[in-house]
């Protein structure tokens, strides 16, 4: 076309080059087709829609005749030695999903990681891994991650970015203006060294430590006050005979939940050790930990410090010590007998007791430290010297904000923090950062904070990078990359080093540090190479702690009065908002992870989104029902959120989960729920996330909650059976008397039953060990390619989880007792599903499995209707795995199901076959424990046991014969292959129902 050819225009907007119009003109269809008519109100479908649907179906009928596209599998030209197609490779590494840094094993197939499992060799996490850790593999393939570095929002090369950042930093440093490195509290020892190198290179640089939820910060701050060191101590719940937790959700979200769950369940193995710790939980909201407690007392958030003070007073009295500074603290508004009993029990378990406290208030942590000190727990259940030492010289984020406001800062680097989203004053950052010359973020995506900075240097995900961690002093956990970086990202350590002028790769830097600092402490006879190889193979090295002293710094009694100064006034009687972390989403960093969003909350059973937890009594008083939208106002900010009546909540407490309402996380996590962080108060740089005085306005509007379980009562059906410890010790069948009665033997049968000549697979689930943490749910989802259905479908109760955890309440709504029951296909002997399928799509295997044959299934759903435990899941739609990147997470051993077919738990049949093949290849008998199902593998509490019940020596066969064993619905003679073991409680009440 020549220059002179006249260009005709269609409309004025086209002539003026309206960008919206241009964008539209690129699309083939001017409007999007309406999908999900069922979701629309009836009055929205129009004649046009009708014709579209008609046309679409006619077109679909014709398109169906098309040949399937040819897909080519390209073989390796030179096959890597270690790679055998079809065989998985396992790498030991360290989880990077939260600050707990558990040891994990990463399963890779054909070069791509597909599953996170616990590393049983790891001395801290000991084989467990939580839901968040499991889900981190999906975040690796998150399509919304940044794929390259960018400067000012446009794609850049690393070289140009480095040049600009280094130049900018030098300039700032030369001008003597401040450089601030905003980091999380826990980074890992080698990364800390890299940070130190950076600080050394730029004399004006300082670290700012930021904690979105404030929990680690409060613990570290309290220890600075009481012991003079910023440390998160090493807690040993397995050593404790009495545990008193003041709002610490240590089984769900607090500090290191996987390790704590393992320890906790070890100390509560009544069947094995004939002993059981007593667990007290005083908390405003119902948490996962509270649900497991023997004694749970709802206490308002503002009364936690007074309650702790009351406890300390009583303990001090028993110890005959005087404690200064408690006089100003008001008496807690709770039953004083509770504290007296608790104090007496703790005192009786002296040195083997443990007091922990959650929340972001250092004063409460100081009192906790004092309580532990009075009880003499130091070194037994809580070890300051064995804990995680945190950056002693760091500034607080409040100080940084003050500096930014004073325009004293020349450069800010954000790593692994998102204050623009998680800080109550996050919205001021946008304005403040404009005045900063060099702004850098290393987050994995252009999130709320990264989108405010000039230089975005995306970090690897933990699965792509090297690294180390020291979750307990002397335990060095190594992280190795299990896949080459998917995008043009670069490890943050490498970036920092580069900007500091150290030209060393992350790997070399790490290895050099290990050679220089770790190896000498290792006390091994081999050379460094062998030590390193072994550490990489094991994922962990246990070395002499550094510093070597195990001497705990002395407690400083004078710190108590200082910490409690100004706490004389009792809070008013109004409602108090508590911002809490959900087990799945925590602080919202992984909000774009569909597995976590869809994981039902272990307590509320809600998926997708947050809601205001209201106590039943309060809800009744205010006329609030589930899903009713309420407006919560505090500090001039208002959020409209749906309410959820949560039994066990303190009448004055309101709970709202953090981590939701993100705006720049990606297509899955954006606009799910409301951002609770904005409601936190921030005064003098101190952020408070609990006991916020709020005003509540009830609106007539409702917003439905996507609950996976609607009914909370067991209706008196013996589904979960329980006994009191004393009863159990006297009679192993306590609480389980019904078993073996009319249900045990069905004498009359005209059919001889299935015959199992070889194996007969079975599960045993220990309800006493299970805390309900839901790690198994996500593990199952990852292993079995279970689709994410989304909020809309979850609202219709169509989540696809093969495994769920049923949660029932019992007793008074204000202080209910909670039980969790993992529920999966029961692989019934007389399976009701098998008889009703017209096409034999679900059949019984010779090894006792109830097998679902997907490609035979026509989808009548008769099997699901006839399933007494309702564990079958139907593919209502084609759950698309249409994002090519996210598809890489699929497990090639498990087929992806099409729409219209039924699916359910297979007892990880692919793992059974793998185990059998392996045993056969090695020419040996299959051993008990060779095969571990996905749910069993990741359970931190070891509540799930799998094995061959035909083998009398197997774990599962022994458990099935124990007095605690029972099977569900014996009265209808389904012959479940899953054995449940009664729940044992140690409430000390003497008798349970």
């Amino acid at each position: 076309m020549s220059e002179t050819t006249p260009k005709y225009w269609q409309s004025l907007a086209a002539r003026d080059g309206d960008p919206a119009l241009l964008e539209r003109s690129r699309n083939e269809f001017a409007e999007e087709l309406p999908v999900g008519v069922a979701a629309q109100p009836a009055d929205q479908s129009s004649r046009r829609d009708f014709f579209k649907v008609m046309g679409l179906s006619a077109a679909a009928a014709m398109v169906a005749c098309q040949r399937a596209p040819v897909q080519k599998a390209v073989p390796f030209l030179t096959k890597p030695d270690e790679l055998t197609p079809g065989l998985a490779l396992w790498y030991a590494s360290t989880c990077g999903a939260c600050s707990a840094q558990c040891g994990v094993l990463l399963k890779t197939r054909d070069g791509r990681p597909i599953k996170v499992e616990g590393n049983a060799e790891h001395p801290v996490s000991r084989g467990g891994v939580c839901a968040v850790g499991q889900a981190s593999v999906l975040s690796l393939y998150d399509a919304n991650r940044s794929r390259w570095p960018s400067v000012g929002g446009t794609k850049a090369t690393w070289a140009s970015l480095d040049q600009a950042v280094t130049g900018g930093l030098r300039e700032v440093a030369e001008e003597g203006r401040a450089i601030r490195l905003v980091l999380p509290w826990v980074l890992g020892p080698t990364a800390e060294v890299a940070v130190a190198r950076f600080l050394a290179a730029f004399p004006t640089a300082r670290t700012v430590r930021y904690d979105a939820t404030g929990e680690l910060e409060a613990i570290a701050e309290a220890h600075r006050l009481t012991h003079g060191v910023r440390v998160v101590p090493d807690y040993r719940f397995d050593q404790a005979k009495v545990i008193a937790s003041f709002g610490a959700d240590f089984l769900g979200t607090w500090v290191s939940p996987v390790a704590f769950t393992r320890q906790y369940s070890a100390a509560r193995d009544a069947a094995g050790t004939r002993e059981m710790s007593r667990h007290w939980q005083l908390e405003p909201l119902m948490t996962l930990t509270g649900a497991s407690a023997d004694k749970r007392v709802p206490v308002a958030a503002s009364d936690l410090v007074p309650a702790l003070a009351g406890l300390v007073k009583r303990l001090a009295q028993k110890a005959g010590q005087a404690v200064e500074g408690l006089s100003g603290v008001p008496a807690p508004r709770m039953d004083a007998n509770v504290l007296s009993t608790l104090a007496a029990e703790l005192w009786a378990a002296k040195e083997k007791a443990l007091v922990v406290c959650g929340g972001d208030e250092p004063a409460a942590q100081v009192l906790t430290n004092l309580a532990n000190e009075l009880l003499g727990n130091a070194g037994v259940t809580v070890s300051v010297s064995g804990g995680l030492a945190l950056d002693a010289g760091a500034m607080g984020f409040g100080e940084l904000l003050a500096e930014l406001e004073a325009k004293q800062v020349g450069a800010v680097l954000f790593h692994d923090v998102n204050p623009a989203y998680t800080h109550p004053r996050g919205e001021v950052l946008a304005g403040l950062l404009k005045d900063v010359a060099v702004t850098v973020a290393t987050s994995d995506r252009l999130d709320e904070t990264a989108s405010l900075v000039r230089f975005h240097a995306p970090d690897h995900t933990p699965l792509e990078s090297w690294g180390d961690a020291e979750p307990r002093r002397g335990v060095l956990s190594l992280r190795q990359p299990v896949v080459s970086p998917l995008h043009e990202t670069r490890g943050m350590v490498e970036s920092l080093l580069k900007w500091a002028g150290v030209a060393q790769s992350h790997h070399d830097f790490l290895r050099a540090r290990w050679e220089a600092e770790v190896f000498p402490r290792a006390n091994v006879a081999t050379g460094f190479q062998a030590f390193w190889d072994e550490a990489v193979r094991q994922g962990v090295a246990v070395v002499l702690p550094q510093p070597a002293t195990t001497e705990s710094p002395a407690f400083r009694p004078e710190s108590v009065a200082a910490a409690l100064a100004g706490r004389g006034v009792a809070a008013d009687e109004g409602l108090e908002l508590v911002l809490y972390q959900k087990v799945g989403l925590r602080d919202g960093a992984l909000a774009n992870n569909g597995w976590l969003q869809e994981m039902p909350d272990p307590i509320s059973k809600a998926t997708w989104g947050n809601y205001l937890c209201v106590a039943p009594a309060t809800a009744e008083k205010l006329g609030i029902s589930d899903g009713q939208v309420v407006r919560v106002s505090t500090g001039g900010k208002t959020l409209a959120v749906p309410a959820l009546v949560q039994p066990g909540t303190h009448p004055r407490a309101l709970g709202l989960a953090m981590g939701y309402g993100r705006t720049k996380v990606g297509r899955i996590g954006n606009a799910v729920g409301e951002n609770a962080f904005v409601l936190a108060s921030s005064t003098n740089g101190k952020v408070r996330r609990a006991a916020l005085g709020v005003k509540l306005e009830v609106t007539p509007e409702t917003r439905p909650l996507a609950l996976s379980q609607i009914h909370a009562s067991m209706e008196g059906r013996g589904l979960v059976r329980e006994a009191e410890l004393a009863e159990f010790l006297a009679n192993p069948r306590a609480g389980n008397e019904a078993e073996g009665g009319h249900g045990g033997g069905h004498p009359l049968s005209i059919w001889s039953g299935h015959e199992y000549k070889g194996h007969k697979w079975a599960l045993a689930v220990d309800l006493s060990a299970c805390t309900g943490c839901s790690a198994c749910v996500v593990s199952c989802q990852a292993e079995n390619n279970i689709p994410i259905v989304g909020e809309d479908e979850a609202l219709r109760q169509r989540e696809m989880h093969w495994m769920r955890i049923d949660r029932y309440y019992e007793g008074e709504p204000d202080a209910p007792r909670v039980v969790h029951q993992p529920m999966m296909c029961q692989h019934c002997e007389n399976a009701p599903c098998e008889t009703v399928c017209p096409v034999l799509a679900t059949v019984h295997s010779t090894e006792g499995l109830n097998q679902q044959v997907y490609n035979r299934c026509v989808g009548t759903r008769y099997c699901a209707n006839n399933c007494p435990t309702k564990v079958r899941r139907f593919n209502w739609f084609d759950y698309k795995h249409d994002e090519p990147l996210e598809r890489l997470v699929l497990n090639p051993d498990v087929v992806v199901r099409t729409r219209g077919v039924m699916e359910k738990c297979s007892l990880c049949v692919q793992r059974i076959h793998e185990g059998k093949a392996e045993a056969k290849r090695e020419g040996r008998e299959l051993r008990d424990g060779d095969i571990r199902t996905a749910c069993q593998q990741s359970c931190p509490a070891r509540a799930i046991h799998f094995g061959d019940i035909n083998d009398p020596d197997s774990d599962v066969a022994k458990l099935a014969k124990s007095g605690r064993a029972y099977r569900l619905l014996e009265e209808i003679n389904i012959g479940s292959a899953v054995t449940y073991l009664t729940k044992i409680r140690n409430t000390g009440n003497g008798s349970a129902e």
Partner: protein
């Protein structure tokens, strides 16, 4: 049955005096005249409704079952409710044509043709649901035990759903054969009335060369009797097997031995209600009040009283057994039905099915077509709700309270259900246009002249009727020497 004696005390089955020729004319008239405006309106409405249904089914099949309101707990709701509802409707046809025939209930003659047609159409509507309710309906043929090259794949003979396949297909086949067989003499009548052209050719083929000879009639009646005998067990079998879908399961509320008789009675109950609905409209629109008389309607309401009573007894028995068995799950299910979140559906059902039929004890109600019409609709609503209550309230709260759930239908489900009415009425309206909706041959046997006492000027006919061994004498203006010759002569230009 032709030489049966009819008491003069009985109310005549054809209430107005008609000659045989007039009867033929009258019954064939709707097929031969141009359709009325009202027919067109009704037909247009039916076709539009059908199109809605086709659209909904197309959308559902192309998108997935997810467009319905089902969930992980409730796998069946509208789909199987509609299936059982329509199969139930389809029950009256066989009952009227086979059982009433065997019991020599002459009053069936003027309604059996339409009732049988209704049966076929209802079974067609019913058969849609088991297919479209499948997740992968394109594989529906897998439920048939045919030799295949897919290894050892076979069907599961233990599955009640498979029994359904056989029961429904057998029922449909026998009903269709029975209906068609009964049509043959009338098809010949139509053939003989048609002047020529395609229509003549079609009816020629359809009437299988019917001659109307004595021997033909003899064979016809023998076969008709045998077919009636063959169809009779099906009246019991179909709904018995449909009830097995539920009765053989383990779900409380489904797992009930009373279901087979309960379902059969319910099916007859709803089937008669539907026949009444259709017949009351038809007799008015087509002017057949003298053929489908109040007596016919009254007889049917009596059947409704009886079957309604059986159904009520079954409801009561269910509750008694739920309590008496001591089974906590079953007890809960029934308490939940009556007082749970779907109590409104349960009490709708009770009102419609238990209370409303008792209005038929009043002669005034029983003989008022308008009242019967309203009550027949009420009963059909009630019977639909009965199936809804059985399916949904049993499923939504079963053994494990953790999976308890609620069900709300979507537009697609309602549209599909409404669409089946479109199909049903489209077919029925076409039926009234292309086939004689009353059995011409049979109704003549019960016409007034056959009663001997008040033959209106055709003196020879009563004698003729009682002499011949057939109930369908060839009508002729003049008596003919022999029946065989009459047939031979009349065939050419006279309607048979």
């Amino acid at each position: 049955m032709s030489n049966q004696h009819t008491s003069t005390l009985r109310v005549p089955l054809v209430s107005e005096e008609r000659t045989l020729g007039q009867l033929t004319e009258e019954i064939c008239a709707p097929m031969e005249r141009k359709p009325s405006r009202m027919w067109w309106v009704a037909f247009a409405l039916a076709v539009v409704t059908l199109a809605v249904g086709v659209g909904m089914v197309t959308y559902e099949v192309s998108t997935g079952i997810g467009v319905w309101g089902l969930n992980k707990t409730i796998g069946w709701a509208f789909d199987i409710t509609n299936f059982v509802f329509w199969v139930g409707i389809g029950h009256a046809g066989t009952l009227i044509s086979a059982i009433l025939f065997l019991f020599r209930q002459k009053w069936r003659t003027s309604i059996n043709r339409a009732a049988e047609a209704m049966t076929l159409f209802a079974v067609m509507c019913a058969a849609i649901f088991p297919v479209i309710h499948m997740g992968r309906p394109w594989n529906a043929f897998w439920v048939l035990p045919y030799p295949n090259d897919r290894g050892s794949l076979w069907v599961n003979f233990r599955s009640p759903l498979l029994w359904d396949v056989f029961a429904i297909s057998t029922y449909f086949t026998i009903s269709a054969v029975f209906w068609y067989f009964g049509l043959i003499p009338d098809l010949a009548t139509v053939r003989d009335r048609v002047k020529g052209g395609l229509k003549k050719a079609v009816f020629k083929v359809l009437s299988f060369g019917w001659t109307g000879s004595s021997r033909t009639w003899h064979r016809y009646e023998t076969v008709y009797l045998l077919l009636a005998g063959l169809a009779t067990p099906l009246v019991l079998s179909v709904h018995t097997i449909v009830s097995f879908d539920f009765a053989t399961s383990v779900i409380p509320g489904w797992h009930t031995t009373i279901f087979p008789p309960y379902f059969v009675a319910g099916a007859v109950f709803s089937g008669f209600a539907m026949v009444l609905t259709l017949m009351i409209i038809t007799r008015v629109v087509l002017g057949f009040e003298h053929l489908i008389t109040i007596r016919h309607l009254e007889n049917m309401t009596k059947v409704i009283i009886v079957t309604g009573g059986i159904v009520s007894l079954a409801y009561g028995t269910e509750f008694f057994i739920a309590w008496y068995s001591g089974n906590p799950y079953e007890k809960f299910t029934f308490m939940n039905r009556a007082f749970g979140p779907y109590a409104w559906a349960y009490w709708t059902m009770v009102t419609c099915n238990v209370v409303s039929p008792h209005l038929f004890w009043f002669k005034k109600v029983r003989t008022s077509p308008a009242a019967i019409f309203v009550l027949s609709l009420v009963i059909n609503v009630g019977m639909w709700f009965e199936r809804f209550v059985i399916i949904v309230t049993s499923l939504h709260r079963d053994f494990l309270p953790s999976s308890w759930s609620m069900y709300t239908p979507t537009v697609v489900e309602v549209g599909t259900f409404v669409g089946t009415f479109g199909l049903f009425f489209t077919l029925f309206l076409l039926f009234t246009r292309v086939l004689p909706i009353i059995s011409i041959g049979e109704v003549k046997s019960v016409a007034a002249f056959a009663r001997g006492s008040h033959a209106p000027g055709h003196a020879s006919h009563p004698a003729h009727g009682s002499e011949t061994p057939h109930e369908h004498p060839a009508e002729a203006p003049e008596p003919l020497p022999t029946p065989a010759l009459a047939a031979a002569v009349v065939r050419k230009d006279m309607p048979v």
